[in-house]
Symmetry: C2
Subunit: 453 residues, 2 copies
């Protein structure tokens, strides 16, 4: 029997709590969160804002009552203010002391707030917790226009949500292209497709940064570095997140080069009896073995499972979490964007570090037999190492099924398949589902010819 | 420069012709078929019959004129009647002699015709070539009822097509379950879903066989072994296919234990300068290394590519085709059925032969975040070897995206991933596409617990 204290209430915390209780019902599990709600899908917030998910409570995965019922004590509105590893003690709200046998930190991330003058005006939001979602939705309902800072995954989902709210959207992105983690040829295609679909609804200001907000009390607009003046009714900053690791650092827990908590592959931190999972941790990127910071719900869930198993029974330490591929997907209406592994640009940057010679190919194909109705398109970029033939990454765009195809590449990446092995893949085929030779394999055939040159 | 003679006009033949011409435009390529059309999607025929594909010409991939234009000579209505390897000569229609440097046999398969009395009545069809599709469609339009013999992949697609034609459908299947290559627990689910969707439109007679047709001149009905009498306006026999290998056998080409032409992994037959690809060949089933017979369009295309490359340049013999996983998918309206690798039953049958201890798990999950609209269901069965932990196969059913998920398993099977490796798969996630932990991984977690017992 152990007392396991878990801090964090969004994805990793509740998962770790449920898992460690299930493993040994005698364990005392206490789950603390600074929020007034636990266990919800933050990834669903753009769909609540866009009206696809009608009720905010639909995003709740499990209520505090449900946790209590399964024997897990839940403490809302508890902000962790200090960790004292020598005494195996945590302090909440600067006063309440809680002892632990094992401590699992699932303390998440904080939104990046660019250095903007007057950033404390009202009607400037981030999208992180449930309350943010409600606030943004309330603003969207009564507004005509919005300024969106950032053009990454969440921003793309917010663009769809704001169009559903009939808003005029101004997007300021500091990079020269949207979705800057994609190769620029791929993000250009996304950009053109968004412009085509959105018409006058979206105006992009790329390669520029907001330096100042204006308005009295309430946000009324912004001015960029290049002097562009944007009038809008409210603003959402979706410029990414940074790990929330300060409290861990103060406690002497090792922080990695990404600024996130460093763990081993058992999700152990550098301090005995303290574990970490989710957005506060850094990961090993499998294709390069480098440390990376990726705040993704799937990763949080998997890490939490491993941390819980090992914390609940840390004699065996059987479970491992051995890294990530950075697989992602998002969509703008019916146009989806998915990726895994290395982009060509990233592969090129790292070519000497990991001793590779990146080559790539691009194909544009129908997503099913050409004579079937409701045909979608697929644009696939496949990246490999010319020296070994190994697949390094893939990006897929289009109205066809991009995400599962990227899943197929992720499976191949995980197993270090070469392009030559990959093109033999026996994928299921029928006319409503694919072409006889799936576009993924067409890309592999094309890439093989480049590798064989 | 070589003269390459290719026999077969559906999938493998045209693919081999196009590929061998592209590899070396100096090659003389002659493509012979017994049909009056070449290069069409036979897999699309059920969708033509069901009215999803309005025009039969939509199923044409390339016309003879297009082949001629790219320098490939096409000979329609040419039935190969003899192969004379010693003289490097083929005879068509018992009279026309054609010499070859390399011969690629893509002579396909023949429908299985069960031993039925009066089987030569009019209005009894198979579904193999374009003409069959047209004949069945013409019969469906003027009829009220149909007898379908067989309940495999093609039969399922025909059931949908016949419902679209407002027909009453009687299905006679000799096995005790439909789709008998699935595990019976999975095919039972398919069966219940078809019954639910089809209502009174379909009547299944399982565990029985048609022994006699009746009618004067025209088919009017059938009698089964168990004495069931079925009145129907026409009949389609969809009881599977057997390889068309007699002409090859007569020429001294080695036939494998499945009755199909045996090739090596370069698609070479046992006779020099004679190659084979497509439905006339047998394959190595990767999970067991056994010979299997699988008549599938994807396999035909891949084999044809390899045969063409090696035939066009048989000094190097660089390309290999190293086996199949038997990945398949079909659908009945919005309910799809996909599978790859070994079923549990097949694994159990082979357990001593390939030294495995099969274990399996079943999960039923939503196909995306539970709060999203248009949620589908996924029922996944995952089979693995308890001794090594290696994945052996998977079956997926439901209104969710089954085929690409089976593709992900196929990729893992190809790489011999264990369940423990598979459950780490970093699959892309966003609420419209999947649940945070994809149902595939939920199945893997569950199966791991069984393996670890």
């Amino acid at each position: 029997m152990k007392k396991i204290v878990i801090i964090g209430g969004c994805a990793a915390g509740p998962k770790a709590a449920a898992k460690s209780k299930r493993l040994n019902p005698d364990n005392i599990i206490e789950l603390y969160t600074k929020e007034d709600m636990i266990s919800y899908s933050a990834c669903g917030l753009p769909y609540f804002i866009g009206g696809i998910v009608p009720n905010i409570n639909d995003l709740s995965v499990r209520t505090p009552e449900q946790f209590e019922k399964s024997g897990i004590s839940v403490f809302l509105n508890h902000t962790c203010t200090k960790i004292l590893p020598d005494e195996k003690k945590v302090i909440f709200n600067n006063e309440k002391e809680v002892f632990y046998d094992e401590l699992i930190l699932c303390i998440g991330s904080n939104p990046i707030i660019p250095d903007i003058k007057n950033s404390n005006l009202k009607n400037v939001f981030n999208l992180k917790v449930i309350k943010d979602g409600i606030n943004i939705k309330n603003a969207a309902i009564v507004s005509k226009s919005v300024l969106l800072i950032g053009a990454g995954y969440i921003a793309i989902e917010l663009m769809e949500a704001f169009i559903n709210n009939n808003l005029k959207i101004y997007v300021v992105e500091k990079h020269s292209s949207i979705m800057p983690f994609l190769d620029s040829d791929m993000s250009d295609i996304v950009y053109q497709n968004i412009l085509k679909k959105a018409g006058d609804s979206i105006e992009f200001i790329l390669n520029d940064e907001v330096v100042e907000f204006f308005g009295e009390d309430r946000f009324e607009g912004a001015i960029t570095k290049n002097g562009v003046r944007i009038n809008a009714d409210f603003c959402v900053i979706a410029a990414g997140v940074v790990p929330n690791a300060a409290i861990a650092k103060d406690a002497g827990i090792e922080i990695g080069i990404t600024g996130a908590i460093k763990t081993d592959n058992k999700m152990r931190t550098s301090v005995p009896h303290i574990w970490a999972a989710g957005d506060c941790t850094e990961n090993i990127f499998i294709p390069t073995k480098q440390s990376v910071y990726l705040a993704l719900g799937t990763i949080a869930n998997k890490q939490a499972r491993v941390a819980a198993i090992n914390a609940a029974d840390n004699k065996e330490l059987g479970e491992i979490f051995d890294g990530v591929l950075g697989s992602t997907v998002t969509k703008f209406f019916d146009f989806s964007i998915a990726a895994t592994g290395l982009s060509e640009r990233k592969a090129f940057e790292l070519r000497n570090y990991i001793n590779i010679e990146p080559v790539s190919t691009f194909v544009e194909e129908y997503d099913k037999a050409g004579y079937m109705p409701h045909i979608g398109t697929l644009m696939i970029k496949l990246v490999a190492d010319k020296r070994t033939g190994e697949i390094l990454g893939a990006q897929a765009l289009g109205t066809g099924d991009t995400d599962k195809r990227i899943g197929i590449v992720a499976s191949a990446l995980r197993a270090n398949l070469t392009v030559n092995e990959f093109l033999h893949l026996d994928l299921p085929y029928a006319p409503p589902f694919s072409s006889t030779i799936d576009p993924l394999l067409t890309a592999a055939y094309k890439l093989k010819r480049i590798i064989d040159l």
